[in-house]
Amino acid sequence: MGKMMISATINGDAQQFLCDPAATLLDALRDELGLTGSKEGCGSGDCGACTVVLDGQMVCSCLVLAAEAEGRKIATIEGVAEGSELHPVQRKFLEKGALQCGFCTPGFIVASKALLDHNPDPSEHEVRYWLAGNLCRCTGYDKIVRAVLDAAAELRQETTTQRVSA
């Protein structure tokens, strides 16, 4: 079978791209659309570095075929900031030092934003379980969890910034 032409809405824009029927959505985003923010870590759904939001649900784009995206809405890391204005989750990752090498960061940011979009006041426990599918081999996770809780507080317009017990 030859290449397929797929039409989808990506970060709010109507896009068309060509893909092999066996290509993953991650392949199409990176290689056809030049959206290289989503990373391939494991390629088997274990690490979450390729996390995107598909029709409102976060998924591993390495476990979605590009051909499945026909007519769907996809949000990637590239759509999280508004122009040069970082999303509070992104800003808190920087402020709290929630990244070192940065490879896992796009996946964590997309997953964290997805959490706060549907649960504006998560507990530390909820944040940790929500992010269980995102692996980070640098930070040890604590700074990531603090950044997410801080971003949540800011989005709720609370001033308390220290909700995690030591």
């Binding site: 029927p21 993953t24 759904g45 591993c60 979605v64 026909e70």
Partner: protein, 288 residues
């Protein structure tokens, strides 16, 4: 490897015809097993049939007092259905132990069943709950108990051209409760070393009138342990009855030893988990 054909049929009949026409075709629902196998070249299908565009394949509807769960319904959608989560919490919790949120937003119970891993988390819960599976194929549709869908590790009993259309759960019986637990060395993102499911019915006096006990990851397929259920029926789930139930579970367990656990550990843990799930199911039945 030549590229497979990609099909997205809009009716059950079209899907069935596509699968029947090509023995190398594979069904795509959530893709969390299929795409991993495709990428690692464990499988090389010449056609992929995405069933998600078929009407009714995603979602949960009331049926015969119980529930009909479309084959492409992701695990997280089960949790969002309050009526289903209230009626069969063990099934919904089991399906939501699989993988991560990202995985559960795609993975389906029908896929978990057809992939036929002995350690599949949703299957012991479905078997305990008495779920049945509606299968469509070239010669029409048939309904089979969930336990009959798998025949061994990675092997299912679907005939050529057949695929699962929906999973059916009965109405929760008066005084009924269900539960599933698994043993893993981590807290999340792991594969069951042992799993156990229970579905009980208690009468007004607390006497058990029906019990279905299932175990996973301790045999080539998930097992319904009828002797374990029988050990509870007629009792008030006292310690002696629970111990007879656990012994029946240990006798039925025929595990392998691998990196996740020894034979002895799995057998012992199967008895422990069976007692724990019965206790949770009992508490739920008392509230029912």
């Amino acid at each position: 490897m030549p590229s497979p054909q990609f099909h997205s049929p809009e009716t059950v009949e079209q899907a069935s015809a596509l699968l029947a026409a090509n023995p190398q075709a594979r069904v795509l629902a959530g893709g969390t097993d299929l795409i991993v196998q495709l990428r690692s070249r464990r499988i090389a299908p010449t056609a992929i049939v995405d069933i998600k565009r078929i009407a009714g394949m995603s979602g949960i509807r009331a049926a015969d007092g119980g529930f009909a769960i479309g084959a492409a319904t992701p695990c997280t959608a089960l949790k969002d259905d309050k009526a289903l989560a209230a009626a069969w919490p063990g099934v919904v919790e089991a399906a939501n132990l699989i993988g991560s949120v990202q995985v559960r937003n795609r993975a389906t119970m029908a896929g978990n069943l057809c992939n036929a891993s002995p350690a599949a988390d949703s299957v012991p819960a479905l078997v305990a709950a008495g779920a049945t599976v509606l299968i469509a194929g070239p010669s029409g549709q048939r309904e089979v108990p969930a336990a009959e869908v798998t025949s061994g590790p990675g092997k299912n009993t679907l005939a050529h051209g057949e695929f699962v259309v929906e999973i059916r759960l009965p109405a929760r019986p008066q005084g009924g409760g269900d539960a599933y637990l698994r043993s893993i060395p981590r807290t999340e993102m792991d594969i069951a070393v042992v799993g156990a499911g229970a579905a009980l019915v208690l009468d007004a006096s607390g006497t058990c009138t029906s019990a279905r006990i299932s175990i996973g990851a301790v045999a080539p397929t998930v097992l319904l342990v009828e002797a374990a259920g029988a050990a509870l029926v007629g009792s008030k789930l006292d310690d002696a009855a629970l111990e007879r139930m656990a012994e029946a579970v240990r006798v039925a367990a025929k595990p392998i030893a691998d990196k996740r656990g020894t034979v002895e550990y799995r057998i012992a843990m199967a008895g422990v988990l069976a007692k724990r799930v019965v206790e949770i199911a009992r508490q739920r039945a008392e509230k029912a």
